[in-house]
Symmetry: C2
Subunit: 200 residues, 2 copies
């Protein structure tokens, strides 16, 4: 049943964003339609256009909330470690755990492509840079004296590597190749051996 003017614009935005994130979390991105979201918050589709410019804007806002949640989990995990190498392992572990616990939301961050003519909002890139920064910070402490470019490259390799482990493991593709190794075990092998190689 559609309602009118019971909520402020800010309240509507919060309600719509929470409902959108819940639909993606439960049913995946394909289930997120304006109609379904309007029904979930008890307003008309027209009301949604007061808080989202279009479907892409709605997805970007859901993804921004996902990146914030991922950042909190990763910051908490690395905050619990003293040794930099343990931090790197903890960051990888938190990334894998988040992807496994929220596969639909995690996938949407990486599967969503803006139309070519739309540029990504600054705040979005900043959120990714903030997560990446956690890894660079731990690696800077570990790779004593390494240049910022070398730290950046090592962080890119480890992020991409752990990301690939998550992608293949969520899709059960690692099993096709013979299986028998968990995402966490692969990430630990990646982090420990890659860092040992770099430290030569």
């Amino acid at each position: 049943m559609a309602r009118r003017s019971e909520h402020s614009r800010e309240e509507l935005q919060r309600m719509a964003l929470e409902a959108a994130a819940a639909i993606v979390e439960r049913e995946g991105a394909a289930a997120l339609t304006a109609r379904k979201l309007a029904t979930a918050i008890g307003y008309t589709v027209g009301t949604l256009y007061l808080v989202f410019r279009n479907l892409d804007d709605m997805i970007l806002q859901v993804n921004a909330a996902t990146l914030d949640a991922l950042y909190r989990e990763m910051a908490a995990a690395s905050g619990r470690c003293r040794k930099p190498q343990r931090c790197v392992e903890a960051l990888a572990g938190a990334y894998i755990d988040y992807a496994a616990a929220h596969p639909h939301r995690w996938r949407l961050v990486f599967d969503h492509h803006l139309p070519a003519e739309v540029s990504m909002p600054n705040e979005y890139g900043e959120r990714i840079a903030r997560i990446f920064g956690l890894l660079e910070e731990a690696l800077s402490a570990l790779l004593d004296g390494a240049s910022p470019a070398a730290v950046h490259q090592a962080a890119s390799v480890l992020w991409a590597g752990v990301h690939g482990i998550c992608v293949l493991s969520l899709d059960d593709k690692l099993a096709v190749a013979g299986g028998g190794t968990s995402a966490h075990a692969l990430a630990t092998s990646l982090v420990n051996n890659y860092l040992a190689g770099l430290a030569r």
Copy 2:
């Protein structure tokens, strides 16, 4: 214009498969519809059901052809190296090059999910195992005396790592985190440092 009985079933299958692969190559998987494919080969949609059971079967056959092409590229690349470590690098490079040259076909192999009640055909898993086998073979030669399980784990880590580099690089996501490092440079850093770490 729809035709009748000018081709044998085998000819139809080959024509349809080539046309389907060409549509995916050019326009991406979303463009691959039965109607479009039928038009491309000049037959009716009904004729397609003589050679494909359904859309999933059509996609699986396109993906099988993609995996065969990827295997040929990788086997040729590793066949040109003498030293096992160069082989591993060459395999990673060929994987990245194939993904970059045929992004839509490469993505479809990993993005396509069969309905839960349909099991993957054996030949499909065998094709993936054959590609994975190239990497295990090079690693066995390199990691002298390592157990099959250790070789398998190392191959899984390297495959997933290079796969993650491909995924993020195709989506331009590495640039969001600061950029400045090519997929090939990241893969070389991954392979060399990971293998050096393992060899300790």
